[in-house]
């Protein structure tokens, strides 16, 4: 089991690194430059807003999502007992998952400053070169998520094994 997980981890890590490299190449070499912000738009886009922060529906619902996820991590780490932390974390995780479609639909439900890129009547919203960069970037982020997930599973199983061994050695000392 441990060897199988190690091999999966190594394979996903390599795939993730290759996809991240491809995504960066497509972003910086293939995708077109934005008119106002130039090359820097490829890493941070905000000129449509004109400000760094505004209480707009999509931004606000995203902030709520971040706070919920931060709360989830804090609950897991600082709750009085691990069981209590797991329960509070699970509730916050479910609420955060419910917030995700709200973030996505925020631009349709509450018309703010955010441009509608995907949606009805937008058959091909991305410029040539952008679709490839977008698709490969999505895959790269997905595989990076898998890398982190497998690493956490592996760490947890190792910690459990250590606890078992220490418990056993304590019993027979």
């Amino acid at each position: 089991m441990r060897t199988g997980l190690n091999r999966t981890f190594a394979a996903v890590l390599v795939v993730s690194a290759v996809l991240i490299g491809c995504a960066l190449g497509l972003i910086f070499l293939v995708a077109p430059e934005e008119k106002v912000m130039g090359a820097v738009q490829k890493i941070f886009y905000f000129h449509a807003w004109g400000v760094w922060w505004t209480w707009e529906a999509k931004l606000t619902t995203t902030l709520i999502l971040w706070l919920l996820l931060a709360g989830c991590l804090l609950a897991r780490r600082y709750a009085a007992t691990p069981e209590q932390g797991a329960r509070i974390g699970a509730v916050l995780g479910i609420v955060a998952a419910l917030d995700v479609p709200i973030v996505y639909k925020a631009v349709d439900w509450w018309r703010g400053q955010h441009p509608i890129v995907f949606g009805p009547g937008k058959t091909n919203p991305l410029a040539p070169g952008m679709s490839e960069a977008f698709g490969v970037s999505m895959l790269a982020v997905l595989t990076l998520y898998l890398v982190l997930l497998i690493a956490r599973i592996r760490l947890s199983s190792l910690e459990e094994r250590i606890a078992e061994l220490e418990d056993a050695s304590g019993r027979f000392r």
Binding site: M37, G38, F44, L158, L165, E166, S169
Partner: protein
Amino acid sequence: MKSYAFLFWGYLVVWIGLVGYLASLGRRMTALARRIERLENRREA
């Protein structure tokens, strides 16, 4: 045009942070695997 070059440094910091985090996870996994090996050897001895 206003310069946003500082954002590239921020971007670099994010990448360095990610690589550092992955390296720390790898180091932790190796350390735990070694500890398990020691505990298993001690149990067998």
